[in-house]
């Protein structure tokens, strides 16, 4: 969020008399280059992150995704015990009048969900890689991690993709 403030102030400092939508476009372009991408995580092309700890994994959406989605106002998470499959939707987040599917980067069984996010969905925006985590999963096939992106490749993916 501090980064976005810096970007916004930079755009204003350029003394561009922008229409609000143009200012937003500038902010989006500049912010995309500086989206946070922690090195210790794995990433999917659909902008979810995975933190692996032994045979379990924590999953959330990336800083790029939360910024593009806008203010998250609702998160519909699965029940614990639910099976998730790599590439399939496991949750829905609502932001800016849109319900957007969130996809699991791995397969397994849901061990825990972030109840705090259900009560305070803005955590997904404020702390996408920490307090804004969505689910914890017991991995059923660790080899699926091999096909995920590392931080460098994910940054390239964000640069080159529109979604």
């Amino acid at each position: 969020m501090a980064l976005r403030t810096l970007v916004t102030r930079t755009a204003a400092a350029l003394k561009q008399r922008c229409q609000p939508h143009l200012m937003q476009s500038i902010t989006v372009v500049l912010s995309r280059r500086y989206s946070s991408v922690p090195d210790d995580l794995k990433y999917s092309k659909s902008h979810e992150w995975v933190k692996v700890d032994g045979d379990t994994a924590v999953i959330g959406i990336t800083d790029h995704a939360q910024h593009e989605l806008g203010d998250v106002v609702f998160a519909d998470l699965p029940d614990t015990g639910t099976s998730v499959s790599k590439g399939d939707a496991f949750a829905v987040v609502e932001s800016v009048k849109a319900a957007s599917d969130v996809y699991s980067p791995v397969s397994g069984q849901v061990l825990d969900i972030n109840a705090t996010v259900k009560d305070t969905p803005a955590l997904v925006n404020k702390a996408p890689f920490t307090d804004g985590w969505l689910i914890k999963v017991q991995l059923s096939d660790k080899s699926e991690l091999d096909s995920l992106l590392d931080a460098a490749k994910y940054k390239e993916h964000v640069e080159h993709s529109s979604h």
């Binding site: 939508h21 937003q24 989006v28 659909s46 593009e68 989605l69 806008g70 106002v73 609702f74 519909d76 939707a89 829905v92 609502e94 932001s95 800016v96 009048k97 849109a98 319900a99 957007s100 599917d101 996809y103 529109s162 979604h163």
Partner: protein
């Protein structure tokens, strides 16, 4: 694809029940690979439609809704609450990722594109714009819109207020989260009727189809083409709230007057 424009299948309906329409939309979004436009000219019976996270106790005069037996639907897309009837015109656009070149499948880019799509429809009507995610004429909202975005497809649907019933609007409470331009105005001072600005309803629908034809090759389809009676491949979110469910939202905060 045919030539340089993608094909858009157009389904024209009239007074189709909104609950069934939403079920069809959810199915077309999730279970098909075609681009679709659904235009439903009015609906019956009058119904309340909430977004995916809608809470009746916060958004509705629940006691009045129960008393008057108004159906309450929670749809699969985001966004707010509307009351719809035969004076509402529904337009839904469902697209594959590649249907609109270089479109980022996130809410703001999609809405900026739909604003461009609809601009010709309101040519000559002062003040048309997308303002804080609402379609407005100046400071008056004339349509509610919402979206559902999945991996490689997106849906944007709009309920246009050709006309509306002031009495029915009283079922809706002032939402706690409202756009800043609303300035706490009650519904009657915040919304407007398109019939006061456009020459005819039929012409309005015709210009929407013309606007689509700028971007797509539009092909007519029927309700049978949607496979509405086929089993769903994935769970459905759109639901009608039962009377038992609505009763559970009655609290001491909504006492009888």
């Amino acid at each position: 694809m045919s030539g340089s424009k993608p094909i858009m299948r157009l389904l024209r309906l009239r007074e189709f029940p909104i609950f069934q329409q939403l079920q069809v939309e959810e199915r077309l979004l999730r279970d098909t690979q075609c681009n679709w436009c659904i235009i439903n000219d009015g609906t019956a019976p009058p119904s309340i439609v909430m977004g995916i996270s809608g809470k009746p106790e916060l958004l509705l005069d629940v006691r009045a809704v129960i008393q008057d037996q108004v159906p309450v639907i929670r749809r699969f897309s985001g966004g707010g609450t509307v009351i719809v009837n035969s004076d509402t015109v529904f337009v839904t656009i469902i697209c594959n990722r590649d249907a609109v070149p270089n479109l980022s499948l996130y809410p703001h880019p999609i809405m900026r594109w739909t604003e461009q799509l609809y601009a010709p429809v309101f040519e000559g009507v002062p003040g048309f714009q997308l303002r804080e995610h609402d379609y407005v004429l100046g400071s008056l909202k004339f349509g509610g819109n919402a979206q559902s975005i999945i991996k490689n497809r997106w849906l944007h649907h709009t309920s246009f207020l050709w006309d509306y019933d002031n009495i029915q609007m009283q079922y809706l409470k002032l939402p706690s989260k409202a756009p800043s331009y609303r300035l706490a105005r009650p519904h009657g001072d915040f919304i407007c009727r398109l019939k006061d600005y456009l020459p005819s309803r039929d012409l309005f629908l015709q210009t929407i189809v013309s606007a689509l034809q700028v971007h797509f090759i539009v092909q007519g389809s029927t309700i049978d083409d949607t496979g509405q009676n086929m089993p769903s491949k994935s769970p459905r979110t759109t639901k009608i709230l039962t009377s038992v469910q609505l009763d559970s939202f009655l609290t001491d905060c909504n006492p009888k007057v």
